[in-house]
């Protein structure tokens, strides 16, 4: 072990092991994933609207990931599902089309993976961002008034103005969300992980009884489909 090149080679092999095992393997796995087609039409994930995609940048720029996670745990491991933070656990498929994935590290605030299902109203999200104490009285979350503009009311006022609680309303002035606030609110509202997919079952384990099929008169179905049954796992 007195040989520089030997140590260099050894450390190189160690780094290749972790590089290959973690990054390359995941690269291959994740780039092989595709949005899963749904029988009802469309695919999951369907992608977010343009504004919601921009909202990811606002989320990142304000350090929301410092307090919020987006990784709902499976039913039976912790109480995320029971708490109403989602209907199933988050999986790689949910994050497939996102540029930024804010898994997060700790829950100083609630898990946001399905916050769009809990609070689908953009205005509520905006109000919460403007001052969290308006929607959650003893919240620890900082306020983001700089994402909003305070303007003099012109005429009957803007349609986009926030409907503030009575005691903080200033007559003659209104609070308008900027594009950043709107994008962030749209992004939050788009966060829903409700579609049942292969990796994340939303229903309990079925009984070992014969399963009901939903094809009315399918007779030739059985023999030819056993080949598919074995190959059900994703390619």
């Amino acid at each position: 072990m007195n040989n520089g090149p030997f140590i260099f080679l050894g450390v190189l092999l160690v780094m290749l092991w972790s590089w290959y095992g973690i990054i390359v393997k995941n690269f291959k796995d994740i780039t092989a994933l595709r949005p899963q087609p749904l029988l009802e039409g469309g695919a999951y994930p369907a992608g977010r609207s343009g504004t919601a995609n921009l909202g990811q940048n606002v989320y990142q720029a304000n350090g929301c990931a410092a307090c919020h996670t987006m990784q709902t745990r499976m039913k039976g491991y912790g109480a995320d599902i029971e708490r109403g933070w989602g209907r199933r656990n988050m999986v790689l498929q949910d994050y497939l089309l996102d540029q930024h994935v804010f898994l997060g590290e700790m829950r100083v605030g609630p898990d946001l993976a399905s916050v769009g299902s809990r609070n689908p109203d953009v205005h509520t999200q905006l109000l919460h961002l403007y001052n969290p104490r308006f929607t959650v009285p003893d919240s620890m979350m900082p306020q983001f008034p700089y994402l909003f503009e305070k303007r003099k009311v012109r005429g009957r006022g803007s349609r986009e103005a926030l409907r503030l609680p009575e005691k903080v309303r200033e007559p003659g002035f209104e609070i308008i969300p900027t594009r950043e606030a709107l994008a962030l609110a749209e992004y939050l509202v788009s966060l829903r992980a409700e579609t049942p997919i292969f990796e994340a079952p939303m229903i309990p384990k079925p009984e070992p009884a014969p399963q009901k099929t939903n094809a009315p008169a399918a007779t030739n179905a059985a023999p030819g489909t056993n080949a598919d049954a074995a190959g059900k796992t994703q390619p």
Binding site: L12, W19, I30, G63, T69, T72, G78, Q99, M140
Partner: protein
């Protein structure tokens, strides 16, 4: 020249040029400029990190405080604090220590000292730009790299020079046998540019990185940064000083070799133990790695124990560094044990995604890495400046306050995480109640941070006095002579 013959006992009489080795004092002298620069700015950034940390901690109790200013919103304040610690303090101090260790262990002068000084300046510029960019709103959400990724080339360029300096010093060593510390430093200097290039290119330059690959790369980076970059340097420091300060040879070279390779192999795939949105093989792999790593860590501890067991106790007590390094060794072992515990699914279910993780991360960074770096700093700085630490009181204050600070900070966050976790896992408890239950623990952690901040101010003051004393000794003397 002539003075060298009458110098200290470690000067080797050398009849021929091949076995000639420079004196430690002269090696120190060659290191002085870049290493003192790195140390000083490292402590400055540490103080910046703690100021922002305290600010962030207070914001937990008064979320409205300074929240109207986008540059001071909680998320950015915490990002600045983390960046200033990891990139401003820990990396710089680590590089400075590593350069000195390469030179001393190789019994050779530091190569490219002036270029290293320039590189250190570039590094600091990078940190400054990064911190400014975070406050301006360009932060990323990657745990180990929260500056915008366009700063990565700056650090890469600076490290090319610093790494080259270390490498050339290593290559030009006059001592052929490699002491285990050298392996650790070598590994650190290899790992850092590798992981920096990965995160800079994959997440900064190439935009076809889809979906969950982003947090996977980010967690991989953060873990390797702490355990294989900073951690390797800290282990190199501990190996070096445990033998040097006790004046005993390290107990077993081969045990050190065993633990070196296995530590690297296992620590590099750790980090995913708490991830819930990732396939199960990742937390399982990290859990296995965190458990297996107990073996090389046990071997390291045994090695250290056998090394220091028989030595002169009296001599040991007088050395400032020994206190820090003992605590750092304890910090190392406890951090590893806590990580192993954290990987058990039973424990992870409770504390996996709570403030416990922040407590554990900070315990690792302060009790292990920062304490090791402090110990080294207290040993190296007086040798570079050729002046003893002026204020013994400041040293005692620094040690006491740092230990108290980190213990209070980490313990309160870990306990708070446990409380939070059990409350979150009870679906009957509303989330507001969970927050309210966690808040007092966050309050205690603020106290810990304040103590840490006070400690580092004491250190900076001592460093300033040291520099002033050295200036007086060095340039004051010249002036006196010139005036004659």
């Amino acid at each position: 020249m002539t003075a060298s013959v009458t110098e200290t006992a470690s000067a080797r009489p050398s009849p021929d040029a091949e076995s000639w080795q420079p004196l430690p004092e002269d090696i120190d002298h060659s290191c002085r400029l870049p290493v003192m620069f790195l140390f000083t700015w490292g402590i400055v950034w540490l103080i910046v990190s703690l100021i922002f940390g305290v600010l962030g901690s207070i914001k937990m109790h008064a979320p409205g405080m300074l929240a109207n200013e986008p540059a001071l919103t909680y998320g950015r304040v915490v990002a600045v604090s983390s960046t200033a610690f990891l990139w401003g303090f820990a990396s710089q101090a680590g590089i400075g220590i590593a350069l000195w260790l390469f030179a001393r262990m190789g019994r050779t002068f530091l190569i490219l000292p002036r270029a290293s000084l320039v590189a250190a300046m570039i590094w600091n510029l990078g940190v400054l730009l990064g911190v400014g960019a975070i406050m301006a709103g360009e932060m990323t959400h990657f745990a180990g790299y929260q500056m915008p990724l366009w700063t990565a080339p700056i650090f890469f360029a600076a490290f090319v020079i610093l790494g080259l300096s270390g490498l050339l010093t290593f290559v030009s060593r006059t001592e052929r046998e490699l002491y285990p510390s050298t392996w650790f430093l070598f590994a650190a200097f290899f790992v850092f540019p590798w992981i920096l290039a990965v995160i800079g290119l994959l997440l900064g330059r190439y935009t076809n990185i889809r979906g969950a690959l982003e947090p996977i790369i980010s967690i991989w980076f953060a873990n390797n940064f702490t355990m294989l970059w900073l951690g390797s340097i800290a282990l190199g420091v501990l190996f070096y000083f445990i033998s040097k300060l006790s004046q005993q040879p390290l107990y077993s070279y081969s045990m050190a070799g065993f633990s070196f390779w296995f530590y690297l192999l296992l620590a590099t795939v750790s980090g995913f133990q708490n991830a819930a949105g990732l396939p199960n093989w990742m937390p399982s792999l990290s859990a296995v790695a965190n458990t297996l790593i107990l073996l090389p860590v046990g071997v390291i501890v045994y090695n250290w124990y056998k090394t220091s067991a028989g030595h002169n106790r009296a001599k040991k007590e007088k050395d400032i560094s020994t206190k820090y390094l003992n605590f750092a060794a304890f910090g190392f072992v406890s951090a590893i044990l806590l990580r192993t515990l954290d990987s058990c699914p039973v424990v992870d279910e409770v504390v996996g995604l709570t403030v416990f993780q922040a407590g554990l991360a900070h315990w690792t960074l302060y009790a292990f890495i920062a304490m090791a770096f402090f110990g080294a700093l207290y040993h190296i700085a007086p040798r570079l400046t050729e002046v003893d630490w002026p204020s013994a009181g400041a040293v005692k204050a620094h040690y006491g306050l740092t230990v108290a600070g980190i213990v209070i900070f980490a313990a309160s966050l870990m306990l708070g995480g446990y409380v939070e976790g059990t409350a979150i896992n009870n679906p009957q408890v509303a989330f507001n109640t969970v927050s309210r239950q966690t808040l007092p623990y966050l309050g205690f952690s603020s106290i810990g941070l304040l103590l840490l901040l006070a400690a580092q101010v004491a250190l900076l003051w001592n460093l300033a006095l040291l520099a002033r004393a050295q200036y007086r000794e060095c340039c004051g003397g010249v002036r006196r002579e010139a005036a004659r």
